[in-house]
Amino acid sequence: MATAALEPAVDQAALLEFLLRIGDNALILGHRVSEWCGHSPALEEDIALANTALDLIGQTQLWLGLAGEVEGKGRSADDLAYLRDGYEFRNILLVERPNGDLGKTLMRQFLFDAWHYLLLKALKGSTEKRIAEIAEKAFKEVSYHLDRSRDLVIRLGDGTAESHRRMQEALDDLWPYTGEMFTSDAVDAALVDAGVIPEPQSLKAGWDEIVTEALSEGTLKKPADGYMHKGGRRGVHTEHLGFILSEMQFLQRAYPGATW
């Protein structure tokens, strides 16, 4: 039923690939953030982190659900989340970085949120109605994520010498993983042409602005744009993803076909 709303003119393989990319970003980051549950340094953070994870898992359901429809092989969002191996995942490397201390988790969130926010904002105008609809809903949630992660990056950057040091270290460590957000390949090109997604590089200026302003307010030094890691968008990940999946997928793998 719902499938009818998708433009048949658009390259369906590219569309599927895009939906896996955006869905896997939400899934893997949601997983990482959820690892904090019950372990954060303040009750308010426990609540906020759980809330972020919850939003991301909700978005995963929508994106991967649509991916399954586009693929047309009867795979559900759960099938895609739980029954693919690492090389089939399309998330960027940034979201699979280990949590580290809460400063690193928040910095990762901020660098991602700033991009996610701009991406979803653009996707609200997608020629694919279903994508625009999901983006509309996700955009509201992610606007809030960005407000929060930006605010904390600023406050902790401009906090004590210790909190400043930790935030700067987190920034320096994570910076080489930000370049992948703005890379582009044939999949992107096909969908950009069809008006489905924005040109990845077109989000860079806006992202730079958000990031530069927050870092400056937080008295943090923006790293130079050096070498950038990439590979996740084409299924070449870091060694961390395998461990995330072995845990996440255990029940579905150990009890194939069971319903829960």
Partner: protein
């Protein structure tokens, strides 16, 4: 004492006591102990369930579990706030938790070993908690009673979700059904112990009842829980692991066996399967977060200074 008499009359008349009103020191102390213990239970209670978030079997179950654990943190927040109205700070309460001085519900010292445990916690542990908490909505202390209204609403939602997990599993494969029975076997007795030992002999209880902090005896609530839960177990096709369990027509309730109180006191004494790990996890979260809390405080102070300076400059 005229103060005490007037206080008791107000309690007897069903009036709510509010933070700034006079209250006996014992009443305040009892409430602080009970509310903070309750708050700590919510916080520590995040851990056994949080243990399965990363392994939840579907995206929907993961989302539901995340929401539930988030609710628990929220309950902790209401309860710490309610306790703070009695003149103790949240940090003081944490300090008591981390030093081992304050207790939390012993049930959270048991491990969650399979996904069925997540269902069993919702069904049995939240079920027992609700049984304990419903009367607290009518507690004489206003802030506690009001927090309880909100908490009870969410807890019954959680209980239904837990039952739903088990329903799905008992209708599933033999392995899934076996997991559910195994979970019931492990969680049944600890759940009955959640009501505490028989309170025949407890003077403490009598005073709490008079103050309307407590409204029912432990045994009364335990009986009610058994009578409510046994038919649900039957509905799920499960065997309650109590050979002495049977319907007593005369009393209109179930007869049932005695929990292993030695185990109960052992767990209270710190020898439960997970006591050390639960407390270590909370302590570590707190200790690892010093820099984070200090950073936020320093920023807030600096921002306040800047505002003050700007105000002076503007004048």
């Amino acid at each position: 004492e005229p103060h005490e008499r007037a206080f008791q009359e107000r309690v007897d008349a069903g009036q709510k006591i509010e933070p700034k009103e006079w209250m006996p020191e014992g009443y305040r102390k009892t409430l602080v102990r009970q509310i903070s213990q309750h708050a700590h239970s919510e916080i520590v209670g995040q851990l056994p369930e949080g243990n399965w978030i990363s392994r939840a079997p579907t995206l929907e179950r993961k989302a539901i579990l995340l929401a539930k654990v988030q609710d628990e943190a929220g309950h902790g927040l209401y309860l710490y706030c309610a306790a703070e109205t009695l003149g103790i700070s949240r940090d003081q309460m944490y300090e008591q938790l981390h030093s081992g001085k304050a207790k939390y519900s012993s049930i959270f010292n048991y491990p969650t070993l399979t996904w069925a445990d997540i269902g069993a916690i919702g069904w049995l542990v939240d079920g027992a908690a609700i049984m304990n908490q419903v009367p607290l909505q009518r507690c004489s202390y206003g802030p506690y009673a009001r927090a309880m209204v909100r908490i009870c609403k969410e807890e019954s939602f959680h209980q239904r979700q837990g039952f739903d997990i088990l329903m799905k599993m008992v209708k599933g494969t033999p392995a899934q059904k076996a997991m559910v029975q195994d979970a019931l076997n492990r969680w049944w007795w600890p759940s009955l112990m959640m009501f505490g030992p028989s309170d025949d002999a407890s003077v403490h209880s009598a005073q709490s009842m008079a103050w309307k902090i407590k409204q029912n005896s432990n045994d009364e609530l335990r009986q009610k829980f058994v009578d409510q839960t046994v038919p649900q177990a039957k509905y799920l096709g499960l065997t309650v692991p109590d050979p002495d369990l049977k319907w007593n027509e005369e009393k209109g309730g179930h007869d049932f066996g005695e929990p292993d109180w030695e185990e109960f006191f052992n767990v209270i004494a710190g020898n439960g399967p997970c006591n050390a790990e639960r407390l270590d996890a909370r302590r570590q979260a707190w200790d690892d977060g010093v820099w984070f809390r200090d950073g936020l405080t320093a920023h807030a102070e600096r921002a306040a200074d800047r505002r003050a300076a700007a105000k002076i400059a503007a004048e």
